[in-house]
Symmetry: C2
Subunit: 279 residues, 2 copies
């Protein structure tokens, strides 16, 4: 059993397959930030097929918060387009189970809940563009201080589809004023990881009056002379499923992502996608 605080250095030496194996066997049940470097991590939503077409429409209409990187066959827990051996029933460190729009339990394995009509959706996550920002030397406070990025329910409406809609959840990163343009340009290169920011500057314009109290994640340091920059967040669909009040929906617990076999720099997030002499 690994602990994030005690075994972080060991966990960081595990590759994507080793880490996923540790998660599958419940030896690791924590956050995945900074782990399995170089591989795409994903937000997860699992729901009955009856709602799957509308949920795919919702993702298509809201590609910044919900960039779809993989969809299972109906009833199959194997995410074969995201890796050679990914079982969505066991390979997420922590799951949140929602019933009729309320979170009813968190578990580390959903084999006993899996149903023949379930469809699993994986959506890209901000770790991908954050790594690129850090590589460019742009300081990211929550990473430097080993905190979870602050997430807020904004006043920005998402585009509805069937029962899915509601406000967009956003993440905050305070960026030095002279690096903001670069941060926009870098993150826009990752459309499968939320892309460019959705708001820059005055938080009150997107309904946020007190940045010290995020809805999820850790409180940030005061923004100071930096510029508050907000990106769309993969927790948005969890907000949408609470609102939709489906009989059952299962998601990853924020921060505890699915580790895939996809290179996090890949243009196409499909496992085994290869052109003959160019990729």
């Amino acid at each position: 059993m690994y602990s994030l605080s005690e075994d972080y250095d060991t966990l960081r030496t595990l590759d994507n397959n080793q880490l996923r194996q540790a998660i599958r066997t419940s030896k690791y049940e924590g956050h995945t930030a900074g782990l399995a470097a170089g591989f795409l991590q994903a937000n997860v939503i699992i729901l009955p097929e009856k709602y799957a077409l509308d949920f795919m429409r919702y993702c298509q209409r809201n590609p910044k918060p919900c960039p779809l990187v993989g969809v299972s066959e109906t009833g199959s827990p194997l995410m074969h387009t995201l890796g050679s051996d990914i079982d969505i029933r066991s390979d997420v460190p922590h799951y949140s189970v929602y019933r009729n729009g309320e979170m009813s339990e968190t578990v580390t394995n959903i084999s006993n809940l899996w149903a023949d009509d379930f469809v699993a959706f994986a959506m890209g996550c901000s770790f991908t563009f954050e790594d690129a920002l850090v590589r460019a030397g742009i300081p990211i406070w929550h990473i430097q201080n080993n905190k979870v990025v602050p997430m807020y329910r904004s006043s920005i409406d998402t585009c509805e589809a069937g029962p899915f809609g509601g406000k967009m959840v956003v993440t905050l990163r305070a960026i030095p004023a002279d690096r903001v343009d670069e941060a926009i340009e870098i993150s826009r290169r990752y459309p499968m990881a939320h892309g460019a920011p959705v708001h820059i500057g005055d938080p009150s314009l997107i309904g946020l009056d007190d940045l010290s109290k995020p809805d999820w994640g850790d409180s940030p340091a005061p923004v100071g002379d930096s510029i508050p920059v907000f990106w769309a967040c993969g927790v948005t669909p969890q907000n949408a499923i609470i609102r939709a009040k489906l009989p059952i929906t299962i998601s990853h617990t924020p921060g505890c992502m699915l580790i895939t076999d996809i290179d996090d720099q890949a243009e196409v997030t499909v496992f085994g996608n290869k052109s003959p002499n160019y990729s």
Copy 2:
């Protein structure tokens, strides 16, 4: 009634709404290359809802040939996420109707075929990245010579979903050797318009032995000293629906695209998508 050859200069003066109105009223029934400049044009597939979830999976798994830019509600012909007044029954210049996998007719209006269970899909098209290549001064032979880009059924397999699969259709552009890297970089910026190339160089590696005989479009000039560069093509899903042998499917006729209200430089292809002070 406009004719492409006689009224091209007049047609080019029409904005997206005027051109769509001319198409809706069957005053124009031709190709849309070079028209309604600055607005996203789209490939179209319409099929019964029964197959819609698998078709969306197919698009998600093959984002280069099938970059989804819009999906209608079931039974609604109004593509409200692509513009303020788009009726998919009348707003495509020419439609191809497929029955049981065979092309049965081409028509300019599908109002009499529309059914309550139809779902319409719009996919980005190469005009967007071609414009960017031309603006960068990269010579594109078929544009300079007013021809339709040559399209070929390659040997590259697409990733299957339900009844949908088959080979990828690709387009050819011969690019001067010293501009190939730039062409890759520019086109990769447009993930909603097929992105970076899928193959560069020897055509026989993707099953193409005679470039002078494309499966669709016009024959190209000999490649000469340039490098043959192949991009994924939005005709790929037409190939997939022929193979799937659905009772009915309707597509645009290659080259005769849907004109949308979306800025063709937009990161998010959703009409009215605006953040408070940043987009």
